[in-house]
């Protein structure tokens, strides 16, 4: 595919469940970002990978959030013991290299925690 893809597009979880959100970046893109977008707000940075290295995880809201990109392509964002405040759209973006390149965004995963 030509763009960034994310799965699932929608996820409903009961409070306390673990969830895993997947991101397939554009082939060849070195940088991968995860953002969280609450309703009516702008996206907020969660974490950043350069190839398989997680260089910045300063935006992860708690230790229940974990992200990985083991082979430098596909990435997974895992949320353990989900809480209602985790309900949001989770956006993945990739860019070719660093240095202010435009980031290409996926369609997002809408997570609803009941």
């Amino acid at each position: 595919g030509a763009g960034v893809s994310q799965s699932p597009r929608y996820k409903v979880a009961k409070r306390g469940q673990d969830v895993a959100l997947r991101c397939d970046p554009i082939s060849g893109h070195v940088s991968l970002f995860w953002y969280q977008q609450a309703l009516g707000q702008g996206p907020e940075f969660l974490t950043y990978f350069q190839n398989e290295a997680q260089l910045d995880k300063s935006g992860l809201p708690s230790d229940r959030f974990f992200a990985e990109r083991p082979e430098g392509s596909v990435s997974t964002l895992k949320i353990q013991r989900t809480q209602q405040e985790d309900s949001a759209v989770y956006l993945c973006a990739s860019s070719f290299i660093r240095g202010g390149d435009e980031q290409f965004f996926g369609p997002g995963t809408r997570l609803t925690v009941l």
Binding site: F33, Q103, P107
Partner: protein, 115 residues
């Protein structure tokens, strides 16, 4: 600290009107990038433009134009002769060179264009 402010929460116009979306940013860094993204109802963020801090030249792309003024820390976006398809939420964003390149977004401006 870095910050992006989009003071206009929602703007409504009638088709063919011109509309300007305001963006004010804050940073102490001298090298940075500014972006505009469009988020239509489908939800996917669409890249519109990137500007680096050393290029204050205004840009025009079809009906879209951008005015970058470092003196007022503003990067405003104008749509000329708006169309219904322009209805979306528009985000202004900032990234700092050598700082992960993460995007710092404003809260967005919802533009509604009525026929």
């Amino acid at each position: 600290a870095q910050k992006v402010t989009q003071a206009q929460t929602e703007i409504s116009v009638v088709e063919k009107e011109d509309v300007t979306l305001d963006c004010v940013y804050e940073t102490r860094d001298t090298t940075y990038y500014l972006f505009w993204y469009k988020q239509p109802p489908s939800g996917e963020l669409v890249f519109l433009i990137r500007r680096n801090s050393f290029d204050e030249q205004n840009e025009i792309s079809g009906r879209y134009s951008w005015n970058f003024q470092k003196s007022t820390s503003s990067f405003n976006f104008t749509i000329t002769a708006s169309q219904v398809v322009d209805s979306a939420v528009y985000f202004c964003a900032l990234s700092i060179k050598h700082n992960t390149d993460k995007l710092i977004f404003g809260t967005g401006t919802r533009l509604q264009v009525f026929p």
